[in-house]
């Protein structure tokens, strides 16, 4: 690790100012992703701006139609939240499947979404539920937020403050864990709203994506059998030492069926 300055602001505007005042400064949330990259000297920001003292970034609220989760809320809190467990149990289940207890206690929803790891779980939940990413300057729809491999719509200096989830009629997540990392080799989130079904896939490709044929079929008939015959094209999916692209494509269908099963309870 190379030396860096360390700031712990108490107000969002201070955080934003500190972040932009020295080029290449980085926000640190749970540090579960950032700190290992610093230790391996893959990144060497001149300053870290710690978000942990920004009280307004923590907590979970329910306004009747949407659930808002503060960016600094750790995965374990989401997984155990009464609000999430009763209103969007599929999202609580997703949070409970991330990493291990230590990672879930430190890692945050904001950090995970900002990082947009192609095998991370939250992007599937956020895109699958059509959530809104709230930042210190604007609101961004999930469909416009995830731009591919570790790429997001966030501008330099922009801070995610919360994620706002519309409450679905039903939702479920199914994750096939990569054997070693236990990130998603393929993870599928399905959500049923009055207006139709959304299906979002993580792990399979260079970034989270939706599957319109499955969404149409499930909007017609929200049952695993409706999508059993839908095959995903392996073209463009990831091939690595753990899984070849055609196997990942196959798993998308299997996991989508299991996600529907989970949503049906």
């Amino acid at each position: 690790m190379k030396p860096f300055a360390y700031h712990q602001p108490h107000q969002i505007p201070d955080a934003a100012r500190l972040l932009t005042s020295v080029a290449d400064s980085k926000l640190v949330a749970g540090g579960m992703t950032l700190i290992p990259t610093l230790k391996q000297r893959l990144a060497s920001p001149p300053a870290l701006v710690d978000l942990s003292r920004l009280g307004s970034l923590k907590g979970i609220t329910d306004d009747g139609t949407t659930i808002t989760i503060g960016a600094m809320t750790p995965h374990a809190v989401v997984a155990a939240s009464k609000v999430v467990l009763t209103r969007i149990p599929g999202l609580a289940a997703l949070a409970s499947m991330i990493g291990d207890p230590a990672v879930r206690s430190r890692g945050t929803i904001g950090g995970s979404v900002a990082n947009n790891d192609p095998a991370a779980d939250y992007p599937a939940g956020v895109l699958g539920l059509g959530a809104t990413i709230v930042t210190n300057t604007r609101e961004i729809a999930a469909d416009k937020f995830f731009l591919g491999l570790f790429e997001t719509a966030l501008e330099p200096g922009e801070i995610i403050t919360a994620i706002r989830f519309p409450v679905p009629l039903k939702a479920g997540y199914a994750k096939f864990k990569a054997p070693a990392s236990r990130y998603a080799l393929v993870g599928v989130f399905v959500a049923k709203f009055a207006g139709g079904v959304r299906v979002a896939v993580t792990g399979a490709g260079p970034g989270v994506f939706r599957v319109p044929p499955m969404e149409e079929a499930l909007s017609e008939n929200f049952d695993p059998s409706a999508i059993a015959a839908i095959r995903i094209d392996a073209e463009g999916l990831t091939s690595d030492i753990h899984a070849e692209a055609d196997y990942r494509a196959h798993l998308v269908t299997v996991m989508a069926k299991r996600a529907v099963d989970a949503a049906l309870g």
């Binding site: 391996q40 096939f176 054997p179 070693a180 990392s181 030492i241 753990h242 899984a243 196997y247 299997v254």
Partner: protein, 795 residues
């Protein structure tokens, strides 16, 4: 006064007090005054010419003390890292043994090969300087697989090692095997890969070296399983340091599994550097660094053929293996796929003729050496897969074909056609015990239950025998060992009767401090808590070969037992004097010396006191003091064996294999501490399951990059992969070790891979699947099912 806790008891482990309370003393915990930090610069290329190294920018950074390279090693006239075994081909031509410089010279041969050592005031400064070191590489194509390495036109690692073949080795009667194959009613064939593994001990390797100019002495603290051997190899053969001027300390070590039983270049470089910079130097490997520098294990490609008569009796077994050595010969490297492999191909069977050819091959990968089991899991895997293939082809039940070929209990001692003579064993007893414990008779019900959920269930058997307790020196010498393989122990009885044992084995998780204390407690009648075991310091322990090859109890424990016997002999002499009786009339039992048939008694403490305060003592014929030493060199290996049964469930939708039941019945001879034995079996089985289902070191052909270079990509087995295991012992006593012990450190790793893979194949056999390579990952199983000859559906 505490209690005697003897052989067969299961006290909590003495060492756990300090480990569980965070008071262990590992190398990285040690700080020396004036200590500097060292970082190794490693090759990012699998194969390259080293054209030059420019140190200027690195040396200019603040805090940087020195940058050492292969040229400095050469200028100081230092030796190359020695190989402890020299094998020869069928004509007696010795293996090719190219030098293994401690810092690369002229060429780098694997990703991770060391090119420089940077020393600075702090680790951060050393890392910054390491990044600035300008190394000029001319990158060459790499070759990482054994099949590719021996092909004409393959990249050549060494100018004088044609086709990268280090040695074309063989064992067995080739002609007898050919004759038997001609007469066979059936010949079964099998091609397989034994996947490459990375040991991953919990504690990464680390070292600190210090030089004291006043005494001209060096001290090296290192994460080693055998400090005396490091002292010998490094002092005598690499750095030219006289043995009495070199102290090697291996304090608490956080797991080894073989990874730490080699003399590594890092140890030599850091010791040499400490004198050059006149300050202590410390190096602690990162996990990532361990992946590209800890010696790897296994990595075979094998073709095997079994000849059988019409009743399924094995007539002959022929095995041709290509074994990967990596870029250089490590300490035991060439011994593992040869001497520790081919002699075990007889297994527990009466196969009369066996021939094995092993081509030992260099590739652009981390050097390969011993990893828990070392050679014996590879042999067991080939044999036990082969037996299943033959049974299935001949339509004979898998248990039945094993029974028909097993060595009966009465036939021991049993001479195999491949050098080794098993002293004792009861494979049929282990098999019968395992069949019951695994509830094999109700397997059909469980299989049907799985099928009703759309899952395929399979059952797999593996029997095994292994050669433990490395090793009889004379035998090893004939096979090419360049050192002895005995063990030593000193039993020091203090004037107050407590005991300190100095032993040459090394405890890094095995529970020696407990097991050895039980032996002393039992034999001397001393309270368990009054016995301490000292190991891992060449200044405190007389000598030793260390811990590996399931040898600590078998060889070290035997030395300890003998030294303890000597204490009793001397104690009887002292007692005879004090009790005014003849020595032959003195009995020793439960910590008391007595005159036979009388109530005249001296306690062990009284005798110890008399030995150190010899006022009333036979000084004319007996020296004062009560301290005895023994060296023990075994007459044979020990041969633990057993039967493992695995039960798996395969999800055909995803290809996931779940291990649902595991049963092991092992013959490990006398059990000193059943809890520790059970722990060793559990750990060994989990590592074998890791090989069968999860672990795989993968290199990129061409670039030589390690693709599985972190825990994110190298899958270790985890607690939730394992069912509750049923382990039991079915022991026959070793006929030649003092306590009848056989060793148990590696058995779990040896029996399990074949049991698991045989179960996976069984689960898929209705689809025409006849073999599955390790690891049986979901992707691999799914691919097999895609290509299977029958439609995929639960039966």
């Amino acid at each position: 006064m505490g209690n005697v806790i003897g052989i067969g008891a299961a006290p909590k482990r003495k060492e756990d007090q300090r480990f569980l309370t965070g008071r262990g003393n590992y190398v990285s915990d040690i700080k020396r005054p004036g200590m500097t930090a060292g970082v190794f610069v490693r090759s990012p290329h699998g194969h390259a010419v080293l054209r030059g190294i420019d140190k200027t920018a690195a040396l200019a950074l603040p805090g940087v003390i020195a940058v050492l390279t292969g040229d400095d090693v050469k200028a100081d006239g230092l030796g190359s890292l020695p190989c402890g075994w020299g094998i020869s081909d069928a004509k007696g031509v010795p293996m090719k043994e190219p030098p293994f410089p401690m810092l690369a010279q002229g060429k780098v041969r694997f990703v991770g090969d060391m090119v420089a050592f940077v020393i600075a005031e702090t680790p951060e400064q050393a890392e910054a300087a390491a990044e600035l070191l300008a190394v000029d590489y001319e990158v060459l194509p790499s070759v990482v697989g054994v099949l590719e390495a021996v092909r004409p036109g393959a990249p050549q690692l060494f100018d004088d090692v044609p086709n990268n073949i280090c040695c074309d080795w063989e064992l067995g009667d080739k002609a007898a095997v050919e004759t038997a194959f001609r007469k066979a009613a059936h010949v079964a064939k099998l091609s397989l890969v034994n996947n490459r593994l990375i040991g991953n001990p919990m504690e990464p390797r680390a070292a600190i070296a210090e030089y004291e100019p006043g005494t001209d002495r060096f001290t090296l603290w290192t994460t080693s399983q055998f400090p005396h051997v490091v002292r010998f190899l490094m002092g005598a053969l690499v750095l030219n340091i006289p043995q009495h001027k070199l102290r090697v300390v291996a304090p608490d070590v956080g797991g080894g599994f073989g990874v730490k039983q080699f003399h590594y270049g890092e140890e030599a470089v850091i010791t040499w550097a400490a004198k050059r910079v006149k300050r202590p130097v410390k190096w602690v490997a990162s996990r990532s660094e361990g992946y590209v520098s800890d010696r790897h294990g296994r990595d075979h490609v094998t073709e095997a053929e079994l000849a059988l008569d019409e009743t399924g009796k094995f007539l002959a077994f022929r095995v041709n293996t290509l074994a990967n050595m990596g870029g250089y010969l490590s300490t035991f490297g060439p011994n593992i796929p040869t001497n520790l492999y081919a002699p075990l191909l007889g297994g527990v069977y009466t196969t009369p003729a066996i021939y094995c050819n092993v081509k030992v091959v260099f590739t652009n990968t981390v050097p390969v050496d011993a990893y828990r089991g070392a050679g014996r899991p590879e042999a067991t895997f080939v044999l036990e897969r082969m037996v299943d293939v033959a049974a299935s082809e001949m339509g004979i039940d898998r248990v039945e074909i094993r029974r028909r070929n097993m060595i009966p209990k009465e036939a021991y001692p049993y001479q195999t056609p491949v050098l080794v003579q098993y002293d004792s064993g009861d494979p049929m007893g282990c098999l019968d015990g395992a069949l019951v414990a695994a509830d094999v008779k109700n397997f059909g019900i469980r299989k049907a239950a799985s099928a009703s959920k759309g899952k395929f269930r399979g059952l797999g058997y593996s029997t095994y025998v292994e050669a433990c307790g490395l090793a009889p020196s004379r035998f090893a010498g004939r096979l090419g060992a360049r050192g002895g393989l005995y063990e030593s122990a000193t039993v020091r009885v203090h004037p107050t009767g407590q005991v300190t044992v100095m032993i040459g084995t090394h405890n890094h998780g095995q529970g020696h401090e407990t097991t050895f204390a039980q032996i002393v407690s039992e034999k001397l009648g001393v309270a368990f808590e009054n016995v301490d075991i000292v190991f891992g310091d060449t200044d405190r322990v007389q000598f030793g070969m260390g811990t590996y090859g399931s040898r600590s109890l078998v060889v070290g424990g035997a030395a300890l037992s003998k030294a303890t016997d000597k204490v009793i002999v001397k104690g009887k002499k002292i007692a005879a004097h004090l009790l005014e009786a003849a020595e032959v009339d003195i009995q020793f039992e439960a910590g008391k010396f007595s005159v036979a048939g009388t109530d005249r008694v001296k306690t062990f403490e009284e005798i110890a006191g008399a030995a150190y305060v010899p006022h009333n003592y036979p000084l004319e014929v007996l020296e004062p003091g009560l301290e005895e030493q023994a060296y023990y060199d075994p007459v044979n290996f020990t041969y633990p064996g057993g039967c493992h049964i695995a039960e798996v469930e395969v999800d055909p939708e995803t290809g996931t294999v779940t291990l649902v039941n595991y049963t092991a019945v092992d013959d490990v001879g006398t059990v000193i501490n059943p809890m520790i034995v059970e722990g060793q079996l559990h750990g060994g089985i989990v590592q074998g399951v890791g090989q069968a289902l999860f672990e795989n070191a993968v290199y990129d052909e061409g670039s030589g990059q390690l693709l599985s270079g972190s825990l994110m990509d190298y899958c270790m087995p985890r607690a939730d992969h394992m069912p509750m295991m049923k382990v039991a012992t079915h022991s026959t006593l070793c006929t030649h070790t003092p306590m009848g012990v056989k060793g148990c450190g590696e058995v779990g790793t040896i029996g399990s891979p074949a049991a698991v893979i045989n179960a996976v194949v069984d689960a898929l056999s209705h689809l025409g699947v006849t073999h599955v390579d390790m690891p049986a990952t979901p992707n691999r199983i799914w691919r097999l099912l895609q290509n299977a000859s029958l439609p995929v559906a639960a039966e």
